[in-house]
């Protein structure tokens, strides 16, 4: 698996993943394209730097929970680049016989907690894993990627408060703040308040980054990983990043022709 430290390489990895997400959108209009594109660099840096690995069975491994499971196609794309699944399998995503369901299921044993999709539950599960790792004396860390809209679910705050209570330095919530949820922009649906102050008020050291800047993301994760304090990352992103037709809108789907056209236009300096 990867252990990429070079910014150019990470950028190229993200580019290739973006192209594969678009390819899947061409074959299955049902995927959550906009969400998969906002979270793409966050996941690219987590996997690309080797923090989390596909099929890591070691006791000291780091865990990744994509609580906003609808964006799983970003992970499927990275899995294909790493060789875990084939491009042909990507084309079958969302079909009855495919293990690449449109919200992750148990068939994908290379995803740690495959059964996300119901919003608000991933953080609690991450807190449980982090408590368990801490008790075992493991150095493993737990990264939980959460949507901004997902914060509407009260359970997310129940879980964040529990992590703060137990001072879980091995638990790292990363909020994909793409400013959009199903019914529109987050501020029009239900304001998330001053999230940085809310989290810091709960006891978190808050790190705000540009969630599409792989260099910034890698730096912040290095900083967070060298700390045993309570940390949270807010990654400001754009929903639908890279597809101007849907960027910063709640639209998740694009026509097949457009998707194929975009696939052919994306070049990643290979």
């Amino acid at each position: 698996m990867w252990a990429v430290r070079n910014t150019g390489e990470l950028r190229r990895l993200a580019c290739r993943a973006r192209r594969l997400v678009l390819l899947m959108a061409a074959y299955d209009p049902g995927i959550h394209l906009g969400s998969s594109l906002s979270v793409l660099e966050i996941l690219t840096v987590l996997y690309g730097t080797g923090r989390v690995k596909f099929l890591d069975g070691s006791a000291a491994k780091n865990w990744l929970i994509l609580s906003k499971g609808h964006a799983v196609h970003a992970i499927y794309a990275l899995a294909a680049i790493s060789g875990i699944v084939s491009i042909d399998e990507l084309r079958e995503t969302g079909s009855l016989g495919s293990v690449l369901q449109n919200h992750p299921e148990l068939g994908v044993n290379w995803i740690d907690v495959a059964t996300s999709g119901s919003l608000g539950q991933g953080i609690s599960i991450g807190v449980g894993i982090a408590l368990g790792l801490k008790r075992r004396g493991s150095n493993g860390r737990v990264y939980v990627v959460v949507g901004d809209g997902e914060l509407d679910e009260g359970q997310t705050y129940e879980a964040l408060a529990t992590a703060a209570h137990y001072r879980l330095g091995n638990f790292i919530p990363i909020i994909d703040y793409n400013r959009v949820q199903l019914d529109g922009h987050v501020d029009s649906v239900r304001s998330k308040g001053d999230l940085q102050r809310i989290l810091s008020g709960m006891g978190y050291t808050v790190h705000a980054v540009d969630g599409h800047n792989v260099e910034q993301l890698a730096e912040v994760l290095d900083e967070v990983d060298s700390s045993d304090a309570l940390n949270a990352v807010i990654a400001y992103t754009r929903r639908g990043k890279g597809v101007p037709q849907i960027e910063d809108t709640p639209v998740q789907r694009i026509p097949r022709d457009l998707a194929l056209q975009l696939v052919s236009q994306v070049t990643c300096d290979e």
Binding site: E105, L106, D112, V113, A114, T115, G117, S118, G120, Q121, G122, I123, S124, I125, G126, V127, G128, I129, A130, L131, G132, L133, R135, R136, Q155, E158, A159, A161, T162, H165, Y166
Partner: protein
């Protein structure tokens, strides 16, 4: 076992959790600000570093327990039955979909929390848990079965729900020396005219109804099914063939609980006339659980009466 006779169901739960923790270092307990009321705190006092109180957040508690199971532990998540049910969707989408053993213990079940009234009286939990594929659902009758249900699920490979009462204790399985096993039903008294099948605390009243019927010349079989899921269907069918008429009784809604489970089985295997006794209410406050059981008609006399009627119908 003898000292359990003197304990209430929740006291037996607290004792069982400690003993499970002694037997297996991977047992952990998660609770939601009800460590004292559920007696889960006994575990916390003995094993403070394996005891996690997540505050009043049952949905979060289910997720935290799921995470602990993923990290290799054997979690018991203990809360009031009613408020554990608000996490139904979390239970479905986290441990059930992952197919991992999280052991959920819901206390203060049924009418056992008489004082607090409808808001606290869980009369739907068996139905809600039984509908989940792969979920093991246990309603112990007394402290002995409660203790065994906890100890026998330490190594469960499936998610489990155990329904436990508060203080009301009718130690029938203890005094009869019944040997609880997960998944088994029990014929407690043989008979051939009609069967009375109980789960949970209704075992006590079912047996009493059997004695009343004997005085009236009716030979009633009394059976007890502490495990509602997986149901001992072999025994259910054998009882149906032997008696030809069945009254089920539970401290739970007449919809979706033991009666439904047995009816679903027999409709497809060996249909017989049935009466399903239970509740059709959301409950209310009273001075004792016994007062509520009587108010809502869950008495030995009523069970006997329904059985008598069923025998008449079956014979006519």
């Amino acid at each position: 076992m003898s000292e359990l006779v003197a304990l209430s169901p929740r006291e037996a739960l607290g004792r069982a959790l400690v003993d499970a923790g002694e037997a297996d270092r991977d047992v952990v307990v998660v609770t939601a600000d009800v460590g004292d009321a559920t007696r889960a705190r006994y575990f916390g006092e003995r094993f403070p570093d394996r005891y996690f109180n997540v505050g009043i957040s049952e949905q979060n508690m289910v997720g935290v327990a799921t995470g602990l199971a993923l990290a290799g532990y054997k979690p018991y998540a203990v809360a009031f039955s009613m408020f554990l049910m608000r996490a139904w969707e979390q239970i479905r989408n986290s441990p059930c979909r992952l197919g991992i053993p999280v052991r959920l213990v819901g206390t203060h079940s049924g009418f056992s929390d008489a004082y607090d009234g409808a808001s606290h009286q869980s009369l739907e939990d068996l139905a809600l848990m039984r509908v989940l594929p792969g979920m093991v659902v246990i309603a112990p009758s007394d402290s002995c079965e409660t203790y065994e249900a906890v100890l026998q699920t330490v190594d469960s490979r499936a998610p489990v729900y155990i329904r436990v009462g508060r203080e009301l204790h009718l130690p029938t399985s203890c005094t009869l020396g019944m040997k609880f096993e997960v998944g088994r039903g029990y014929v407690v008294r043989d008979g051939s005219d009609v069967a009375i099948i109980s789960t949970g605390i209704m075992l006590h009243f079912a047996l009493e109804a059997g004695r009343i019927l004997e005085e009236r010349g009716i030979d009633a079989l009394v059976a007890h099914f502490p495990t509602v899921q997986p149901l001992d269907t072999v025994l259910v069918e054998r009882i149906a063939r032997r008696t030809g008429a069945i009254v089920t009784v539970e401290e739970h809604s007449v919809r979706g609980g033991l009666g439904s489970a047995i009816a679903e089985t027999l409709t497809q295997a060996y249909p017989v006339p049935m009466a399903i006794m239970g509740t059709k209410t959301l409950g209310r406050s009273a001075k004792s659980p016994m007062e509520l059981l009587e108010y809502y008609g869950l008495t030995a006399e009523n069970i006997a009466h329904r059985a008598e009627e069923l025998v008449k119908t079956a014979r006519s």
